[in-house]
């Protein structure tokens, strides 16, 4: 296993589109590193550049101690799992697994031993003599994973490997991948647009937007302190409430009358936005202590929780996460109270975290 270093990566296509503007990543040995972002943010291009399937316009990629810029994919000693599995349709599972080993020219007995070993690890025994067409989506993805594992590469690259699976299977495979990665101590770069996947899998997450890295941090870091307005709006479901505030009397005051405790070091001379997670707010009875008057716009009953959309006279409606026991009908007059600690604060103009 090896670490991966990406420096000042830039990729511009012949038609002029810039897929990756400026990306710096430093992925540790044995780390499960997730690249998260909306489609077109450059995450897949970055991954393909690491794999060697795309040649970057400028910038350096290092795997272990080797500068791999000019190495073809075959020489980089990495494995990749694709969204569409990319199992060779005319080969049985057994031969699909043996394929990369035969490409390396390993002796037959060694190939058989390694295939059996990985088949046992991934519980593929009964599937070995079937062709991809005869496998379900989940089985195909397990075979694709096994094919990546069988080579014992220096790093694994995963390009949205679970996107085509249904929800239940996706959760199972997520657990399986995380378990395998830990077991093998594998360096893994995992690309996804699904924040749940990113949060549950990643040791660290890089959030990409428009070909740039917006934030790199552990799942908790990116959840608690999104580094920019983009991250704040992207992470969390429902996302963070962004409330325009002014500093007055040592308090942050929103338009709807919501008063928040300011974090230390809040600048006074700029237009500010406070980021408040839905669970840092509470819907109370109308007129309750320390609450501002509000009205329920809508309520999503999710079973284990209720997401209220509340109009409190601010510029935007806010979303509030409440336990299912607190029930208010749409249109009801209620109170809105801030219950969390100090919020994160962003500069409206630069869209960056200021406190």
């Amino acid at each position: 296993m090896a670490d991966i270093e990406v420096k000042a990566l830039h990729k511009r296509y012949p038609d002029g589109t810039v897929a990756v503007d400026q990306v710096d990543l430093s992925i540790g040995d044995g780390e499960l590193f997730v690249m998260l972002g909306p489609s077109g943010c450059g995450k897949t291009t970055t991954l393909r550049a690491i794999a060697g399937l795309e040649r970057q316009t400028t910038g350096d990629i290092r795997i272990g101690d080797t500068l791999v810029n000019d190495q073809p994919p075959a020489e980089r000693d990495i494995a990749m799992v694709f969204q569409f599995y990319a199992l060779y349709p005319h080969l049985k599972t057994r031969d699909n697994l043996a394929f990369p080993l035969r490409a390396e020219g390993l002796p037959k007995a060694e190939v058989r031993r390694r295939v059996d070993e990985v088949a046992r690890l991934m519980r593929l025994g009964p599937l070995l003599d079937r062709r991809p067409r005869q496998l379900s989506g989940g089985e195909q993805q397990r075979v694709a994973l096994a094919r990546a594992l069988v080579r014992r590469p220096r790093a694994f690259l995963m390009d949205e490997p679970l996107t085509n699976l249904d929800a239940e299977l996706r959760a199972d495979m997520r657990t399986e991948i995380k378990h395998l990665q830990g077991e093998l101590g594998a360096t893994m770069v995992y690309v996804t647009h699904d924040q749940v996947e990113a949060m549950s899998l990643g040791h660290r997450i890089a959030i990409l937007n428009k070909g740039r890295v917006e934030q790199i941090g552990t799942p908790l870091e990116v959840y608690d302190r999104p580094a920019s307005l983009f991250c704040a709006a992207f992470i969390g479901s429902p996302p963070m409430n962004l409330i325009e505030v002014e500093v007055a009397d040592g308090q942050l005051r929103g338009q709807g009358g919501l008063v928040l405790t300011p974090p230390p070091g809040v600048p006074r001379d700029r237009r500010l936005v406070a980021g408040v997670r839905p669970e840092a707010l509470a819907v109370t009875e109308a007129g309750a202590e320390r609450s501002v008057p509000a009205r329920v716009v809508s309520a999503e009953w999710l079973g284990d929780e209720i997401i209220y959309v509340v109009d409190h006279g601010g510029q935007r409606d806010v979303r509030v996460r409440m336990p299912p026991t607190v029930r208010h009908a749409a249109g009801a007059a209620v109170g809105l109270r801030h219950t969390g600690g100090t919020p994160v604060v962003y500069d409206v103009r630069t869209e960056e975290l200021v406190a």
């Binding site: 012949p14 038609d15 073809p72 994919p73 694709f82 569409f84 990319a86 394929f99 990369p100 490409a103």
Partner: protein
């Protein structure tokens, strides 16, 4: 629409999938359909049938008035004449058939060898002005080939390709390459690029990945495309008659056409030669009929 509602009830709505607007009325429609199709089939197939009959008739019966549809003596002497010269030895027609096979085969192979990798490249790589290039390639097929026959003739005379098989092979390949690129690009687009990506990560170069993975998956498409190219080259008449003059080089279409005229026309021989000429194409088309349909309909439905 009351009629169609009644019908729908009587035939059972679940089984009746014909849209109401297309219904002409149960039995009446099928009789009309059969009648029209029969009429069409007769018109289309009668010349073919007559050709086959003529090819196996005695010369006496060929010229008989009134014409004999049935009850003539069957003979295979016309077919013998196609291949064997009157004094023994190889006939000019059989040489023409060999030339045709060689020219059509070689030009198809050439067009495929050039066109398939080109189609792959256009499908896989970011090429500058890709759409413009592809349009340019297609535009070479906009005009009927006969338009360029005179310039080609003059050029060929300059470079000494006139009356040579190589010349015919080159010109047919030139016409088939654009077609091959366009048709094959559709097939290549259908093969996910991930196969090649995966093979490249597994230790192969891009060319090896194409050769070992994409190419085998393209075989049905290549077969269909090649058959189209083969049929075009086999049937081509205008260039063949303009660019060739000697019996050693001449292909079958102008050679058969050359049988007509002069003082008498041996219709039995013309018919037999035509049957022999039509057979390979029929056999090929039959062998790859499923691919032909796939090739024609491919890309019509978006994934």
């Amino acid at each position: 629409m009351a009629v169609s509602v009644d019908e729908a009830v009587s035939t059972g709505p679940a089984r009746d999938r014909t849209p109401p607007g297309r219904r002409l009325g149960g039995r009446g429609r099928s009789v009309l359909e059969v009648a029209l199709l029969t009429g069409l089939a007769v018109v289309m197939l009668f010349p073919v049938l007559w050709m086959i009959e003529t090819s196996i008739k005695d010369n006496r019966d060929v010229y008989a008035i009134p014409a004999k549809f049935v009850g003539f003596r069957v003979t295979l002497e016309h077919f013998r004449d196609v291949f064997v010269a009157p004094g023994g030895g190889r006939s000019a027609l059989s040489v023409a058939f060999l030339n045709s096979a060689l020219v059509a085969g070689a030009s198809t192979v050439l067009a495929t060898v050039l066109g398939v990798p080109a189609a792959w490249a256009y499908s896989r790589f970011a090429v500058k002005a890709k759409k413009d290039q592809l349009f340019f390639i297609l535009s070479t097929r906009f005009m009927p080939p006969v338009v360029v026959v005179i310039p080609i003739f003059l050029m060929y005379r300059q470079v000494g390709l006139i009356d040579s098989k190589i010349g015919l092979i080159l010109i047919y390949a030139a016409f088939n390459v654009p077609f091959t690129i366009w048709m094959m690009k559709g097939f290549v687009d259908e093969v996910p690029a991930e196969y090649e990506d995966a093979a490249m990560l597994d230790g192969y170069t891009r060319l090896q990945a194409f050769w070992r993975y994409t190419l085998p998956l393209l075989v049905p498409g290549i077969a269909a495309t090649a058959v189209f190219a083969l049929i075009f080259s086999w049937n081509e008449f205008v260039f063949a008659i303009f660019l060739t003059s000697s019996d050693d080089v001449r292909t079958a279409p102008p050679a058969i056409a050359g049988l007509i005229g002069g003082t008498t026309t041996d219709w039995g021989l013309v018919a037999a030669a035509s049957v022999v000429f039509a057979l390979p194409v029929l056999v090929f088309a039959y062998l790859v009929r499923r691919h032909l349909i796939a090739g024609v309909t491919l890309g019509a439905v978006r994934r």
